[in-house]
Symmetry: C2
Subunit: 378 residues, 2 copies
């Protein structure tokens, strides 16, 4: 063994690298498709007079958030307080934490963040309100508070206006907290495949939110913002009349799972994120093996598809590898060393496996975006 300096891992790509020369596995973005997706949802929000607050958990990438805000988004959502920090550093000034926190350490971090950006969070228990109020008071900041209501998702959130009124009163007792309104999110209907069923269930869920808003109004409690919705229900949420703000995230990249939804309206999105991989074994004959598996994409929502759709099928994932066969028995298979593109089953946890997005236009790398919130789950 010679005494040599540390071995530097070369970058997977630099500006100008052609797609086929990117070292794999790597997460690549088709910038044209990505920008069209952003433009389409923003135009629909503008036409409906509804604000867009895209979800940062889908991309964890400040450059993406800034592109969304440049088109008119009012800010972003994050799913965890720590996730918000790199966005704040990058200049995102308005961030909603779209769920509850229940520990003093997280409340303190949120209160610190609120010194730098307009921050809000959900509650569904008075103990959370007290944690937030104490932390904001100590930090000298103000935290916006939404009561989360369960409109059928069955995860977090209170049911009915009475519980909301009790939490509203708890918020009002803390001068460092600011009442913002309601969060109403139904994750379960985002992936209902049939367009008609998704439409019907989305309106039913929105109607449950509207009932609570009406009951609050009757009790003299205003509801300045009703935030919720997602990429699967956005077209209906815009129409619902109850949501003032939509939290869609996946529309920017469009994974396989969302593309499996039946779309019949004008609001369609394109695949803009792909996992680049390479055939590294063809010895089996009846299949090939690529260098992308569970550690470069999440299979929680099913396996990826091979892009463009057609002759090849990703059949099985192991830690770092995947088996790809012919869609038709006996169909042709790619040669050793062939670069391939996959459409991941679920974009959010897939992005969280990568430290950068390699962004392409006209087949060459135009820019590299750090996934700055990767791994920030606290």
């Amino acid at each position: 063994m010679k005494n040599t300096p540390p071995i530097a891992l070369p970058p997977a790509a630099v500006v100008g690298t052609p797609l086929a020369d990117i070292d794999t596995p790597a997460l690549v973005i088709d910038l044209d498709a990505f920008e069209r997706n952003l433009d389409r949802l923003q135009a629909a929000a503008d036409a409906a007079g509804v604000q867009l607050r895209p979800h940062g958990k889908a991309h964890k990438t400040p450059a993406v958030a800034l592109a969304q805000i440049a088109r008119g988004a009012v800010g972003i959502c994050c799913q965890k307080v720590s996730e918000a920090l790199p966005f704040i550093e990058a200049g995102v000034h308005d961030i909603h934490i779209s769920n509850e926190i229940a520990s003093a350490s997280k409340a303190r971090l949120l209160a610190q963040a609120a010194l730098r950006a307009r921050m809000s969070v959900c509650v569904d228990d008075a103990a959370q309100v007290d944690l937030l109020g104490t932390a904001a008071d100590e930090a000298g900041s103000r935290i916006g508070v939404f009561v989360e209501i369960d409109i059928g998702h069955g995860r977090c959130g209170v049911s009915g206006a009475e519980a909301v009124l009790r939490l509203h009163a708890a918020v009002a007792r803390h001068p460092a907290l600011e009442w913002r309104g309601l969060q109403a999110y139904h994750g379960g209907l985002q992936h209902l495949r049939g367009h008609a069923e998704r439409r019907e269930k989305s309106f039913a869920a929105a109607a449950r939110a509207a009932e609570v808003v009406a009951a609050l109004a009757a009790a003299g409690v205003p509801c300045p913002t009703v935030t919720g919705g997602g990429s699967g229900s956005a077209e209906f949420d815009f129409e619902s009349g109850v949501f003032t703000e939509i939290q869609a995230g996946s529309y920017a990249f469009m994974d396989r799972d969302y593309a499996d939804n039946q779309a019949t309206g004008p609001l369609r999105f394109e695949h803009a994120m792909f996992l680049a991989c390479t055939v590294m074994s063809t010895a089996a004959g009846a299949h090939v093996v690529v260098d992308a598996g569970l550690k470069s994409m999440s299979v929680d929502s099913g396996l990826p598809t091979v892009w463009p759709a057609g002759p090849l099928r990703y059949r099985q994932a192991s830690d770092e590898h995947g088996v790809i066969g012919a869609t038709e028995p006996g169909g042709p298979l790619p040669a050793l060393g062939t670069p391939l593109l996959l459409v991941p089953g679920h974009c959010d946890p897939t992005v969280n496996l990568h430290d950068e997005l390699i962004c392409l236009r006209d087949g060459r790398v135009e820019t590299l975006w750090p996934v700055a919130a990767r791994g920030l789950s606290r």
Copy 2:
């Protein structure tokens, strides 16, 4: 908004932090259980006169590799070339890349690594041999080469001695390559639940490897090392007489999937890795929600269990949250803010989601280990 400096994310824990005070989600190691697991497998390997080469893909953590080597392991495996780099920096001097590579950039990186450590890799195609030979020649290093044979796994590897002999001849033509022998790995049988079935199939797979070794010997080709095996088959692989080196990885941490295997012999391992999480919503009444989901553990091999086993069941994972219910209908549920431990379904991709392992003894943090190879999938 005040003009304040960047917000630093506080550490999840420091030395001395009690388990219940760790900021969650966080991956924690029970050091006593971990050390017993390492001791048990090393003792079994020593008793069998077989070398242990634990798989670094299971932990991606140099401190773990060094603990394995300190007990007698001959080196480690990595699944990708980039994954090996932090181990080399930490002083691991013998690393086998336990699959094939098929691009010049990866061959060059491996050849560079071979200037710093004893490196080897698998081949199942003459084109891979040529890439390796050229890269090692250019770098002035030597790369060890194993031919991978398929003993029933059905992923990579050639079938039969003739194909091995052709690749052996290809290796022999490159002076910078060193013939090492065979890799024979059968991932499919690692999780056969029944002990008797796993035993029978493990011996059948080993017999296929023994046939190839015998055919090579008859052709005058030595087979200095036969490497393979895993945590599920190790007890049989030791006994097989054909493996000279075992690649087990998961035994160090023991995930839920491996624990679901029926174990009847003396070689048993304990859960040593847990995902610490916190109850952050109890509003639903019939279940609670914790702050650990798809971004802090992989569910490719099924959902986690709640530890210790008993009254609670993890029912559903979303990106950053999980729904936990009572095992018995109407059973008691934990209060808001309660810390809980989960046993992840699959340790390898779960570790890959975290930047550090928080190591405990007697209920307090003893040390923090960086997961230095996290995200290195190239």
